[in-house]
């Protein structure tokens, strides 16, 4: 079984490996505490991950190091063949990532606002009004461009779950431009991680229409060209209905109900057997296999 203290140690060690990605206000001597908090976020009942994520961002923890710790905890769960925990941690990581990005953006906006005020005040000491406005306008344009770029890069995180297995949690609405970004990001990640499975989790997608399905199919085809397989999870009944009503038939993508089932499937494809050592995880694993439906 996975011991809580061990997990906290594992998370703390992972944070320390990525210490240099954290900000100046977070000395590595604080990382053991952070590791404990992060494990709490991943394992304990939580109402809302937004606030704790925002707090950690404010304290200087980088997304990269948080992700490293999340992966380490997932690995520990996998080593212990604790499938329910693996699924819970992966799910939480996906939610946490979304909360994280929001908090980072908020922080960026706030600090850039501070800086803008600082510049304006400093300039006021010595420059004419007209000069000041011209510069402020240029600055704010640059900041907007940077924000836009950041939003794009943050909106499609591809998470390595395990050797060769990537998860892409899609959240919010998807338009053509975003789909394009997602696709590029995905293809780049697949070749970088030499992945053979990509699990796309659409639990968080607000609306599915023909366009979205079209994009997913396109992505699946491109992924196939790289020798990897797409597994689509998180299709709720309404979405399933929409897909049917639209007269769309998904023949090229393997679809499964939940992220957990997706993980089981991807692991089996790698020839990895998950040795369930608790009754609960054994049942979950059996169920996963039973509901495995290939729409081919």
């Amino acid at each position: 079984m996975t011991d809580r203290n061990d997990l906290e140690r594992v998370a703390g060690a992972a944070l320390r490996r990525r210490a240099f990605t954290n900000r100046g206000m977070l000395p590595p001597t604080h990382l053991a505490d952070m590791g404990r908090e992060l494990v709490g976020l991943l394992l304990d009942p939580q109402e809302n991950l937004d606030h704790p994520a925002a707090r950690m961002v404010a304290r200087g923890l980088s997304f990269v190091s948080a992700q490293e710790a999340g992966l380490a905890v997932q690995q520990a769960a996998l080593d212990a063949a604790d499938l329910p925990m693996l699924a819970q941690v992966s799910g939480r990581m996906a939610t946490l990532i979304a909360a994280w990005h929001k908090a980072e953006l908020d922080g960026l906006r706030r600090e850039q606002e501070d800086l803008r005020e600082a510049v304006v005040r400093a300039l006021a000491e010595q420059r004419e009004e007209s000069d000041r406005q011209r510069l402020a306008a240029e600055r704010s344009q640059q900041e907007q461009d940077r924000l836009a770029a950041l939003v794009t890069e943050l909106s499609a995180p591809v998470i390595p779950l395990y050797d060769g297995i990537l998860v892409l949690p899609l959240i919010g609405s998807i338009d053509t431009r975003r789909a394009q970004d997602v696709m590029e990001n995905v293809l780049e990640s697949i070749s970088r991680h030499q992945a053979d499975s990509l699990i796309i989790d659409i639990t968080g997608v607000a609306m599915v229409d023909t366009g979205v399905v079209q994009h997913l199919l396109q992505t699946a085809r491109a992924v196939g060209l790289l020798g990897a397989t797409v597994v689509l999870v998180g299709i709720n009944p309404e979405i399933a209905q929409t897909i049917t009503q639209l007269g769309l038939v998904i023949t090229e993508i393997i679809t499964l109900g939940t992220l957990q089932e997706g993980i089981v499937y991807a692991l089996r494809r790698r020839g990895l057997s998950v040795q369930a050592i608790t009754a609960a995880s054994a049942a979950a694993a059996r169920q996963g296999t039973a509901r495995l439906s290939l729409w081919r």
């Binding site: 206000m25 000395p27 800086l115 510049v119 400093a122 300039l123 010595q126 640059q142």
Partner: protein, 258 residues
């Protein structure tokens, strides 16, 4: 004073390395270019700032209520006034732009003042300290991330002046670049800093110890900043270290004026 936001600024570049957002496109671009030439520059900035946290926290725990900070840079989140919110603090920098931003970021209150001055002109800084601290001379001094921008003779003079001025029981936290000075002088890194017109001066361990001879070092002594911060031995990238050991390393210490 020339506040030109189209020119890169040292304080804002440093902030970028620390993961801050108090910087502009021109600063970020320059920072990235610098990082390409000197890959360890970001890690070095972090090591210094983390050390500052730890050291200042120890000064706060020792209940100092006056802080003189030499070469402040941008006092962004988590800087001394955050760690010691009720203290009287005198910030210093040579760069007027950095001072102007600093004033604006923290606001100049009766507790926090700024003095724009070259550290070499330590007498002017100490006069400002006397004015701000109301004559209190048993104080905490932080001199972090800057000693190596000052030539050896001047640095010795600054430390001696601080020693003569401050009252017994005062403490100083400081970071250094220490190691094989001759090896460094011939290195490419040294040449790059010289080209940037901001030469870097390393010290031999013996020279640093001699400068500190009159002060009482507190535990854990004068040690490498990566050890102080409990991170990897090898904080530089392989491309920079090559096969040989880097001639200089960052060190930190806290000492008491007996």
């Amino acid at each position: 004073m020339d506040i030109d936001t189209t020119k890169p600024n040292g304080g804002r570049i440093y902030d970028y390395y620390l993961g801050g957002n108090h910087n502009f496109e021109v600063d970020r671009t320059t920072a990235e270019q610098l990082s390409k030439i000197l890959p360890s520059i970001k890690a070095g900035a972090l090591l210094n700032r983390w050390f500052m946290h730890d050291a200042v926290q120890r000064l706060v725990d020792a209940r100092f209520d006056c802080y003189l900070d030499l070469a402040t840079g941008l006092p962004t989140e988590g800087y001394i006034h955050d760690l010691a919110p009720d203290a009287r603090i005198l910030y210093n920098d040579i760069d007027p732009v950095t001072i102007a931003y600093g004033r604006s970021i923290v606001g100049e209150t009766s507790n926090i003042q700024f003095v724009q001055s070259n550290i070499a002109d330590i007498d002017a800084i100490l006069a400002a300290a006397d004015a701000h601290f109301g004559g209190q001379r048993r104080i905490a001094i932080s001199f972090i991330g800057a000693s190596y921008f000052i030539d050896t003779e001047t640095l010795r003079g600054v430390l001696d002046a601080l020693y003569a001025w401050c009252a017994p029981g005062s403490q100083i936290a400081m970071s250094w670049l220490i190691g094989d000075v001759n090896g460094f002088a011939q290195s490419q890194v040294a040449a790059i800093y010289r080209q940037m017109r901001s030469p870097v001066y390393g010290l031999s361990m013996a020279a640093a110890q001699e400068m500190l001879a009159r002060w009482d070092l507190l535990s854990p002594g004068l040690i490498e900043l990566n050890r102080w911060n409990g991170v990897d031995d090898e904080w530089r990238t392989p491309s920079e270290t090559g096969l040989e050991k880097e001639p200089l390393d960052l060190y930190g210490m806290i000492a008491v004026r007996p």
